[in-house]
């Protein structure tokens, strides 16, 4: 089946317009998922929430399953700021292997919110989900979303965000992909002076296939959209990156930037990238940069001359690149934990 269509098509034989995956990736029978831990959200959690509608489709039968056969719907109406982040942990185990969930965060006017969602487990997990973040006027939301599956799994994830006037959304997406990881991220910058930042880091090994389709549509004036992605591919991993910043007519004085760095840590890893800038408004400042390659030999030589092994030197460089993206993460301890996790994931044979 073909998933995660690019918003703009290009030549079919490039193989980037969509993600071609085997039908067996889709799981028909969904069993209950109960291992959900929610912290710091008592007053915000709407237990009577119903299913939501969503417009961004990922394709195949995944969308129908998500709307009709999900096993978790979490809705948070966040109407006051608080110091501690709302944390939602989905722990996958033998009895909780399949998660088809909808999560909605409605951040009310003038509210600051910090959100952490993590999916982890040591089983062959199946995940099909959507996160919707609606930032009302003058609100601010920071989210950290982590997927960490130890065994070969399926991760199909959508984001569908709206960012209103003078509000700011920052999402840090950390994907320790294993198996299939198909991610569609969409943000609509509705309001003037809105800001939407997506930072993504990923590490993929084995025969993992990562398909990232990130899009930010800028409608509001004096707004700012940013997509920054850094990843490392090991073994025979493959990555597709489709990034789009779309300056719609009227978004005067807005800016957008897209930056993709893909580090190839194996000669058998493969990277495809399609970083797009679409512009129907003249008075904007848009730019993108992308680079692909292995870790610079000069950098390695410098570090190795300080007594590090080659593999440790590579790890050090990769972590430094990741650190740039994860900089300013609201939880410093968590950031260090993530960097340590990157260190562990990078244990490999060159």
């Amino acid at each position: 089946m073909r998933l995660n269509n690019s918003p703009i098509l290009t030549t079919r034989n490039y193989g980037i317009n969509d993600a071609k995956v085997d039908d067996s990736v889709f799981c028909q029978e969904i069993t209950p998922f109960e291992n959900i831990i929610i912290e710091n959200a008592d007053s915000f959690f709407n237990k009577n929430a119903k299913k939501i509608s969503f417009s961004k489709k990922i394709g195949g039968d995944f969308d129908l399953q998500l709307s009709q056969n999900n096993n978790a719907v979490l809705n948070f109406e966040i109407d006051k700021s608080q110091e501690n982040p709302i944390c939602i942990s989905f722990k996958f185990d033998e009895n909780n292997k399949m998660l088809v969930e909808q999560i909605v965060f409605n951040i009310k006017e003038n509210v600051d919110a910090k959100l952490i969602v993590s999916l982890s487990g040591e089983v062959d997990a199946y995940h099909n989900g959507i996160v919707k973040i609606n930032c009302e006027k003058n609100s601010k939301a920071e989210m950290l979303f982590i997927t960490d599956f130890e065994k070969e799994s399926v991760n199909v994830l959508r984001f569908e965000n709206s960012v209103d006037e003078a509000s700011k959304l920052k999402v840090s997406l950390v994907d320790f992909a294993n198996g299939h990881s198909i991610i569609n991220y969409y943000s609509k910058l509705n309001g003037d002076e809105s800001k939407s930042i997506l930072n993504c880091v990923y590490v993929a090994g084995g025969k993992t296939f990562v398909d990232l389709n990130f899009e930010q549509d800028v409608f509001g004036k004096k707004s700012e959209a940013s997509i920054q992605t850094v990843g490392a591919l090991l073994a025979e991993a493959r990555k597709h990156f489709k990034g789009t910043i779309n300056f719609e007519k009227g978004c005067k004085k807005s800016s957008g930037s897209e930056d993709e760095l893909c580090l190839l840590l194996s000669k058998n890893a493969k990277s495809k990238a399609l970083p797009m800038l679409l512009c129907t408004e003249e008075d904007v400042d848009g730019k993108h940069a992308s680079s692909v390659g292995k870790v610079s030999e000069k950098e390695l030589f410098y570090i190795m001359s300080r007594g590090f092994s080659r593999q440790d030197a590579i790890k050090l460089v990769v972590k430094a690149k990741f650190n740039i993206v994860l900089e300013n993460l609201f939880d410093v301890k968590l950031k260090q934990k993530l960097i340590d996790l990157v260190d562990r994931k990078l244990n490999y044979e060159e």
Binding site: R12, N17, F247, L264, K272, L274, L278, V284, H288
Partner: protein, 466 residues
């Protein structure tokens, strides 16, 4: 600061038309009968007809592209694929019929030939009407002739290379090209021969509701070098014209080829041209491209870096005005170790024009230690135009470096203010900035052509401040 508005131009020096006089004009449409008749008119050998018929079959099997500009207005039933002008090929301008000679005079071709070219080919509608080459080059074994003559006079050489760089199943419009191709140039530069002066072919499409399908085949043998210039224009008609030419370039070991194009097709033209080069060991292929005309353009020159240490560079500019959708770019495939590519592309859009940069960089497993650097900038001159950047990269080996940078936006108000504070009018300041934006491309052209390109930019910018 008041908003600068740039008027559309109605006429330019390219937009003059002769009467639709011809020796023969094929009935409109595309069929086996028409393909056979073109071949018969040209008295071609059987193997060429076989290629035409095979291509027609492929054309009918392939779909229109699912991407890019809308091509739905193209109706092959309304296009005449072959128009023979009222003359044969001549080797002296004096022998070319007055009306056609006058056309090329206006375009400055005889003058250019006299002053700084080593050889010239001029095509009018479907046939080459003039071809010449300096004697000194003939003595060195250089072949520069029209493609029909090459099929007749150098069949083995043509057979060895024809369709080998651009196969007929590449895409729908290349299949169309091979079915009805006519005219074009053939160049062979022998081993070690380095041409100091460029060769130029000029393509003029005068006949309304017709297509031009010229085939250009260039072989630059080992250690040789060549600069080839291609120019094209047409008067504007109300109905669609089609250009689906093909350029096949072979750059042998240690050779170098620069292929420069100034394209100024009329704004009713669908320009669906295909250009590709195979670059061997230690060879270098340079593309310089200025794209100003056409209603729709889908043009992506391609270099296949087949040999170790081979290199390619692309320097291009597109200028999309009112009613134009220019979807241009560059493609490169790295197939061998230590190969490198450098791409610099700029596009301007105004008066509702759409400029798209679309590219491919593919680095395959054999291409270890290869490098690719791409920069593409889009400049929008008003708020009703569009500028898109759609670059694709595919990397299948770790030991490479690819970097890509792109920017899009408008002319800096600070820069306009600065120039105006030095006494320039806003219009002149803006024109100066645009010329500066195009400078990386014009500096790669011979002086005379750089002047020509700047003149085209000035024509496009001609207007007033509102």
């Amino acid at each position: 600061m008041p908003k600068t508005k740039v008027k559309e131009i109605n006429q330019n020096i390219y937009d003059f038309k002769n009467q639709d006089n011809f020796d023969f004009k094929m009935k409109k449409g595309l069929s086996e009968e028409i393909v056979r008749e073109i071949s018969k008119k040209k008295v071609e050998p059987e193997w060429v007809l076989d290629i035409r018929l095979k291509a027609l079959e492929v054309y009918h099997k392939l779909d229109l592209p699912i991407w890019g500009p809308d091509l739905s207005e193209l109706n092959m039933d309304e296009i005449s694929t072959y128009v023979k002008p009222k003359t044969d090929k001549k080797e002296s301008w004096e022998d070319v019929p007055e009306e056609i000679k006058d056309t090329f005079d206006k375009l400055g071709i005889p003058k250019a030939e006299h002053e700084y070219l080593a050889g010239v080919g001029a095509q009018y509608d479907s046939e080459v009407v003039y071809h010449s080459i300096k004697n000194s080059l003939l003595k060195q074994g250089v072949i520069y002739t029209d493609f029909d003559s090459a099929i007749r006079d150098y069949p083995e050489l043509v057979k060895e290379y024809f369709t080998k760089c651009v196969p007929l199943f590449d895409h729908k419009f290349i299949a169309l090209h091979y079915a009805v191709f006519s005219g074009g140039s053939f160049v062979y530069v022998p081993k070690g021969v380095k041409l100091e002066m460029p060769l130029q072919s000029y393509f003029r499409l005068n006949s309304p509701e017709s297509g031009q399908f010229e085939h250009t085949l260039i072989i630059v043998d080992e250690g040789a070098s060549l600069h080839f210039i291609e120019g094209c224009s047409a008067p504007k008609y109300n109905k669609v014209n089609l250009h689906a030419g093909c350029v096949e370039l072979f750059v042998k070991e240690g050779a170098s080829l620069r292929y420069s194009t100034i394209e100024n097709w009329s704004k009713n033209m669908l320009n669906l041209n295909t250009k590709k080069a195979i670059v061997e060991k230690d060879a270098k292929m340079e593309w310089v491209s200025g794209s100003f005309g056409s209603k729709i353009s889908m043009l992506y020159p391609m270099s296949i870096l087949k040999g170790e240490n081979s290199k390619t560079e692309f320097t291009g500019i597109s200028f999309a005005g009112k009613g134009q959708n220019l979807d241009n770019g560059f493609k490169v495939v790295h197939l061998a170790p230590n190969t490198s590519s450098v791409v610099s592309s700029r596009s301007l859009s105004k008066s509702g024009g759409v400029a798209t940069y679309r590219s491919l960089v593919s680095i395959l497993p054999e291409a270890t230690n290869s490098r690719c650097s791409i920069t593409c900038d889009g400049l929008m001159l008003d708020d009703i135009s569009r500028s898109d950047t759609i670059p694709f990269s595919n990397v299948e080996v770790d030991d490479v470096e690819i970097s890509h940078e792109a920017k899009v936006g408008k002319i800096s108000e600070k820069a306009i203010f600065y120039l105006m504070s030095r006494g320039l009018s806003e219009e002149d300041a803006k024109a100066m900035i645009v010329r500066g934006f195009a400078n990386p491309i014009s500096k790669e052209l011979p002086l005379e052509y750089a002047v020509e390109m700047n003149r085209l930019i000035n024509l496009e910018l001609e207007g007033s401040i509102g």
